[in-house]
Symmetry: C2
Subunit: 229 residues, 2 copies
DNA sequence: ACCTGAACACCGTTCAAGT
DNA sequence: ACCTGAACACCGTTCAAGT
């Protein structure tokens, strides 16, 4: 009776003999990737694994623990750019791009990270903060700048821009705006935001250095190259 | 415990004789305000109203409909700054501040808005977009700039900064950073982000104008008469 | 050690029925 | 018109039990 469910799954969910954390995370990632995070339930997961509802609980504390593992699996795939990649802004862009690419292929994960569970992947956090420090922010502002990046990067994946309705009576901007809504892609959205925020950082840094001219204005020299979209 | 429902209405949940949409929204707002959006369930709501589980369904389509009404109720409280308040950036700041103040006192609402249900409150959307247009963005960029604002403003309420751990081995920034984590408030976080984004907008606008110097696009130039169709 | 099954306390929603 | 109650199809998780 209910021996091994080897033949039950008509849709590619084989089970060797034992469950494993890796298998569980993989299956969870699968569900998240094709049905979103909301559809990830312990019951559905165990069903897909061909196992009883409670079986995964042997390998995982609870649903939150599972989600943390999934997040970790996704984030561990991004590669940190080395110092040879360029100045802080170039490297920051590369890093952020890499994170975003990973999140784009795992809908629902951004939402989890937004809530603040990034602490699971400390290396990424460290890398971003170090770049911000290198940019010229002091301790307090490194934190705040990181928070801005965090919020935009992880928050944007929950935004469904398609539901935004263009105000048709925008003074002076009547007809020519509506068509733009459909030609704007998620990538444009992403690029504009990241560029805006980094430009804002630079402006803040410039203002900060104008305030206290004690230090050599060395870091403003970075401004030269800038990837034009 | 809360069976005050019958006749002696002490504080929150009295019931005259009939239910009403207003009562339902009020009760929902109450739950959201003190327990967060996750705790808002139709069953708990009806219990608090002293009514059967299905009673609210007579006034509301479903849970999503309820949430839309709640969002609308929260957002309808923000006052749009008039043209006399100042230039576009000042007015944008005022408007955003007003929205944020409302969201701060209704935890969970930001999360809903983030997903794109702002379409329920068109006036706010119109006001922001008009300010961005006045700032000098063209149709496509108005949309993108709005999206950035939207993401940050509504996304930030889901971010729990307290869980962020400061990298202790940050090169050159060892000890003096950690204490900052506790002194940074949600308000600092908010201010830094909004300032960064607005500064980023200005930088983008400046770059845009440097590109095409023929047009004298001054920020207050758009006060249109220009009837639509 | 590894997994199952029943059970508990929740959900949103449908549907027939009551007044 | 307005509301109730039972029922259905879900949740996450506890706990005792099986192998």
């Amino acid at each position: 009776v209910a021996q091994v469910a080897a033949g039950a799954g008509a849709s590619g969910n084989r089970r060797a003999s034992q469950l494993s954390r890796g298998q569980i995370v993989e299956a969870a990632l699968n569900i998240v990737q094709e049905s979103g995070l909301d559809s990830l339930s312990m019951r559905r997961l165990s069903k897909q694994l061909g196992v009883s509802t409670m079986a995964p609980y042997y390998y995982v504390d609870d649903k939150n623990g599972l989600i943390e593992l999934v997040v970790e699996a996704v984030l561990s795939r991004v590669e940190l750019p080395g110092p040879e990649a360029g100045a802080w802004d170039v490297r920051l862009r590369l890093l952020i791009d890499a994170v975003d690419a990973e999140l784009r292929s795992h809908p629902g994960i951004g939402e989890v990270l937004l809530a603040g569970i990034l602490s699971t992947h400390q290396e990424l956090l460290d890398a971003v903060m170090e770049l911000l420090f290198e940019a010229g922010f002091d301790g307090r502002d490194v934190l705040l700048a990181y928070a801005v990046l965090h919020t935009y990067l992880f928050g944007r994946h929950k935004v469904a821009m398609s539901s935004v309705e263009i105000p048709l009576d925008l003074k002076g901007a009547p007809d020519w705006m509506a068509p733009h809504l459909h030609e704007v892609t998620g990538r444009d959205f992403y690029a504009f935001g990241v560029e805006t925020i980094i430009a804002g950082f630079k402006a803040k840094l410039a203002a900060q250095e104008a305030g206290k001219p004690r230090r050599s204005a060395r870091s403003t020299a970075v401004k030269g190259r800038r990837p034009r979209s």
